[in-house]
């Protein structure tokens, strides 16, 4: 793997999955591809974290899964965002932005 790639920061994976699924329902591989693609290959989703995360989110009721057929006519498990998931995404996005802003402020601080 390219050295410029970063593993998805722990704790943000859930947020990224929710965001990816808010665009359209897709299967697990699709989620990983989409995150990698949007982040221009900066963010690599480790399969080892992806599927447990999907299970966890499903368990919390933020996403729902259903078996469907893929573009290559194969059985695949499709995930979609639920309405509680959408609310959760909203909330997590806001708190992430607040966090980023705070980090930025700190980083840009000048000596007094």
């Amino acid at each position: 793997m390219a050295t410029s790639n970063a593993d998805v920061l722990q704790g943000t994976l859930d947020l990224l999955i929710l965001k990816a699924l808010s665009l359209e329902p897709m299967h697990g591989w699709g989620v990983a591809q989409r995150i990698q693609q949007i982040s221009r290959d900066v963010l690599q989703v480790n399969q080892g974290s992806l599927y447990p995360a999907l299970r966890r989110l499903e368990d919390r009721g933020w996403i729902a899964a259903r078996w469907g057929t893929s573009e290559h006519n194969r059985r695949a498990r499709y995930y979609r965002l639920t309405s509680t998931g959408r609310a959760q995404l909203q909330q997590e996005t806001e708190s992430w932005e607040r966090f980023m802003l705070a980090v930025q402020r700190v980083l840009r601080a000048q000596p007094a």
Partner: protein, 893 residues
């Protein structure tokens, strides 16, 4: 997520794991395939694409595990894994597992067996409606110091008319009746019967299974003969015939019309001594047909059962009845002199005799369980400590205390469940042995069986207790100093943490203390039974047969006007003695209204010339006997002469007095020649005989007189037959002799007097044997504990021992070191146990004979036995310690 889907998810997670795994696998495979396809598109060769994908992907199993964790199902899975792990670990050390399981199983088995009996005998509800309100209304006698005596019929009617605390009062009189079964040619059998007043069934709250109870007009003198029969009799003798109601059955010499069938479980308390042999098995119920004048007030021949009015406490009833008794005493100064009333709860009265023994046994079995648990805890602890380096490493690496707890929990769970399973088997076997050993007079014993509910409760408690002990090591692990444990080098030879060693020692001390309590209890009982066995019963019990019979009044009239001239009665009695004495192998035969070990009845009396003393005299036992009684039973003459056949109904009234009576009433030794008056007749004392035991070997023989049966005739008698050889061998000829004289007369109460004597201390023997077994078990378990703890200590200190030996320590010194450690534990345990025994053996007080619960000899013997046994138990590990090869132990570091 809605509750429904949440539950569905949980359900899937928990129980549809296999499907869940398959789905995950399929999903992961899809992912891999997509990735491979993507890499192919990027220009890789198919083989390289697949290889690199799989490499990057890692193991499938890992994901499955992680996904399951994410699902929150880890706990259950981990539980299953723990159980599997525990099972593996236990299998790896079969000796350890075997000892722990067996130890616990013995404790659980003992407790369960005893609890099954206690439940059936003491706890199971009575068949009576609202039994808590049922009471016995006994009379008592201040002069004799008796507490439970029958009432008189007139007293009963006064109780009914003048008391306000009872909603119902019924009187009951035990009877024995011969019954001729309907089958042709069948021998008559003796049945236990009870005559009751019309409101008996309403009082106890029992409804007939079939038919009806007595109507008031059937409980009057001269009413047609009617009877109720037991379900047992209905099944066994009438093949459960549905048309039994209205049939006529033959009882004694009369025919009775059957009104109804009563359930079997009408339980009545043990009757006062000499008041019929009524036990639990009343088969026929008749109307008493009593009136306030049908029987004199001085004749105490009914027992009174009453139902308390709602809201009336037994104590309030006692107060009112005591006041009523005092009024009656004033009103009838002659008949009711010194008479009081004792109101006793009926359920308590039923089990009064056996409760102390069962309570003691239940406590003893609980102690055995505790000792077993302490032992198991000790063994588990030894293992935990042996693994403590492993535990410490895991704790240091961040393994949760919870995981450790789970593993211990899994182990002790498996051990307790295995022990419980084995314990059920032990309980079943134990119960069988226990029932075989039990004396026959324990009420409800026939109903004892392994009730699944009881079994559940007993096992639940047992498993709970043993698991609690199994988790004890956990609390110690908390005290484990991780750094210390890691630093200590190899866990095997490092010395155990002092806190743990202290705790383990504490367990052993407790085990020894508890077993000391049990062994002392058993010792006290063993000594009591020995003393009871050694008691001279005052008669010769060997080669002596007893059978009983009753002559029906219809063919053997006993009109009070003719007393004591009952020619038919005494004709039968005399002829039977003659015929039995003619049987080859018979030495002699005799008749008595009450034989050896039968208490008989008491009557008030007056010493002629000392009438004033009668006011405060206890009643005296009257034991009417044929003259051959004394040689046959082997009761010795002390002074004067024995009775002879000339002392018949026409001769001057005479009697013998026993030594106890002679001492009490004629302390100057001048009994012979004095006259006693009872039943309107002065009777001259012609001799003094030895005291024979008749209230059991443990009781002092009370004053008694022996009038000749021909002068004080009885229709219900015991026939004693002294034989040259086995007394049972002549029984068929004795039966034939009775049948030839009167085929309607049934024999009952057949026993050898050796057997009767041994039965009379049955309760003590039963308790002694069980307690002895428990004590032995406790001792063995405690010694396993001592041995185990010391062996472990030796292993722990093998390095130290090796160094000592290498430096030239003598074997003897090393041995002493270990034995001393063991003896310190056992002496502490013995000291604690002696204190415990002083308190606990009070439970046994009523079962002891000839010694007190603080008997010095027992305490001394038990102390030395336990000290010696624990010295032996310590010696084995000590010898092991001396065999340690310094070269080997030092090298293993």
């Amino acid at each position: 997520m809605s509750l429904r889907t949440r539950i569905a998810t949980r359900w899937r997670a928990l129980f549809a794991r296999r499907r869940e795994d398959q789905e995950l696998e399929e999903e992961l495979r899809f992912h891999v395939d997509m990735e491979v396809a993507a890499r192919l598109r990027a220009g890789m060769t198919p083989a390289a694409a697949r290889r690199t994908t799989l490499r990057d992907f890692g193991g499938l199993e890992r994901y499955k595990e992680e996904c399951r964790d994410a699902r929150g199902i880890s706990l259950l899975d981990a539980g299953a894994a723990d159980l599997r792990g525990a099972l593996r670990a236990l299998r790896k050390s079969p000796a350890f597992t075997g000892v722990v399981v067996l130890t616990l199983a013995l404790g659980i088995g003992a407790t369960t067996a005893i609890f099954t009996v206690v439940n059936a005998v003491l706890l199971r509800p009575l068949a009576y409606a609202d039994p808590g309100r049922l009471v016995m209304v006994w009379e008592n006698d201040r002069n004799s110091g008796t507490t439970r005596e029958p009432a008189s019929v007139p007293d009963y009617f006064d109780f009914r008319a003048r008391s306000h605390v009872f909603s119902h009062l019924a009187a009951l009189q035990p009877r024995a009746l011969s019954f001729t079964p309907p089958a042709p040619g069948a021998d008559a059998v003796q049945l236990s019967a009870a005559a009751v007043t019309k409101d008996f069934l309403a009082t106890v709250g029992i409804a007939p299974r079939l038919g009806r109870g007595f109507r008031p007009d059937e409980d009057v003198p001269g009413a047609p003969a009617v009877a109720l029969i037991s379900e047992r009799l209905w099944h066994s003798r009438f093949a459960s015939a549905p048309d039994i109601i209205g049939r006529r059955i033959r009882l004694g010499d009369s025919s009775y019309s059957v009104l109804g069938v009563l359930p079997d479980r009408i339980e009545l308390p043990e009757m006062p001594p000499g008041f019929g042999s009524l036990q639990q098995d009343v088969d026929v119920w008749l109307p008493l047909a009593a009136t306030p004048v049908s029987s004199p007030r001085e004749r105490h021949d009914v027992i009174v059962v009453a139902r308390l009015r709602a809201g009336v406490a037994p104590a309030a009833a006692q107060r009112e009845m005591a006041a009523l008794a005092a009024t009656l005493e004033v009103q009838y100064p002659r008949e009711n002199r010194a008479r009081g009333v004792f109101v006793e709860s009926l359920p308590a009265s039923l089990v009064r005799g056996i409760r102390p023994a069962l309570a003691a046994l239940l406590a003893a079995s609980a102690l055995v369980l505790l000792i077993a648990c302490a032992n198991a805890a000790n063994l588990l602890l030894a293992r935990t400590v042996a693994h403590r380096r492993e535990v410490a490493v895991r704790l240091a690496l961040g393994a949760g205390m919870r995981r450790l707890a789970q593993q211990l929990f899994a182990e002790s769970f498996l051990l307790s469940v295995a022990a419980a399973a084995l314990g059920i088997g032990i309980a079943a076997l134990g119960l069988r042995a226990l029932l075989a050993l039990a004396p026959r007079n324990i009420p409800r014993l026939a109903d004892v069986s392994m009730d699944p509910r009881v079994l559940g409760v007993a096992l639940g408690i047992a498993v709970l207790v043993s698991m609690t002990f199994g988790l004890l090591p956990l609390f110690l692990a908390r005290t484990l100093d991780v750094q210390d444990a890691l630093r200590a080098g190899s866990g095997r030879s490092g010395s155990a943490a002092p806190a743990q060693q202290r705790f383990r020692n504490g367990l052993v001390v407790a085990e020894i203390a508890l077993s000391v309590v049990l062994v002392i209890g058993a010792g006290l009982l063993i000594r009591s039974v020995w003393s009871l066995r050694g008691v001279d019963p005052g008669f010769q019990s060997d080669r002596l047969l007893r059978v009983q019979y009753q002559l029906p009044a219809s063919r053997y009239p006993q009109s009070m006007a003719a007393f004591p001239h009952f020619p038919e009665l005494s004709g039968f009695h005399r002829e039977l003695i003659r015929r039995v004495e003619a049987i080859p192998g018979v030495v002699s035969a005799s008749l008595s209204a009450n034989g050896p070990l039968e208490a008989g009845f008491t009557n008030s009396f007056v010493i002629v010339g000392r009438e004033a003393e009668a006011e405060h005299q206890a009643e005296i036992y009257i034991r009417s006997v044929s003259p051959s009684y004394f040689p046959t039973a082997g009761v010795a003459l002390r002074r004067g002469r024995l009775l002879s056949d000339q002392d018949d109904a026409t001769a001057p009234a005479v009697l013998l007095i026993n030594e106890s009576g002679a001492r009490r009433y004629f302390p100057d030794g001048n009994a012979v020649g004095q006259q006693l008056r009872f039943w309107g007749q002065a009777r001259r004392i012609v001799g003094v005989v030895a005291d024979e035991k008749f209230e059991g070997p443990g009781a002092e023989t009370p004053p008694a007189v022996y009038p000749p049966l021909w002068q004080v005739p009885f229709a219900t008698v015991s026939l004693l037959v002294r034989t040259h050889a086995d007394p049972m061998a002549v029984l068929p000829q004795v039966r034939a002799a009775v049948r030839n004289l009167d085929p309607q007369v049934a024999l009952y109460g057949v026993t050898t007097m050796d057997e009767a004597l041994s039965q009379s201390i049955g309760k003590q023997r039963f308790t002694m044997r069980l307690l002895g077994a428990f004590a032995l078990l406790a001792l063995v378990l405690a010694m396993i504990g001592v041995h185990g703890t010391l062996s472990y200590a030796v292993t722990q200190r093998s390095r130290e021992m090796g160094i000592r030996m290498a430096l030239g320590a003598q074997r003897g010194a090393v041995r002493r070191l270990i034995v001393r450690q063991g003896m310190r534990l056992s002496l502490l345990g013995i000291a604690a146990g002696l204190l415990g025994a002083l308190a606990a053996t009070r439970l046994l007080r009523t079962l002891l004979y000839g010694l007190t619960s603080t008997d010095l000899v027992t305490y001394a013997v038990v102390t030395s036995v336990i000290a010696i046994v624990s010295a032996l138990a310590s010696f084995l590990p000590a010898r092991h310690a001396t065999r340690i090869d310094p070269a080997i132990t030092l090298r293993t570091e």
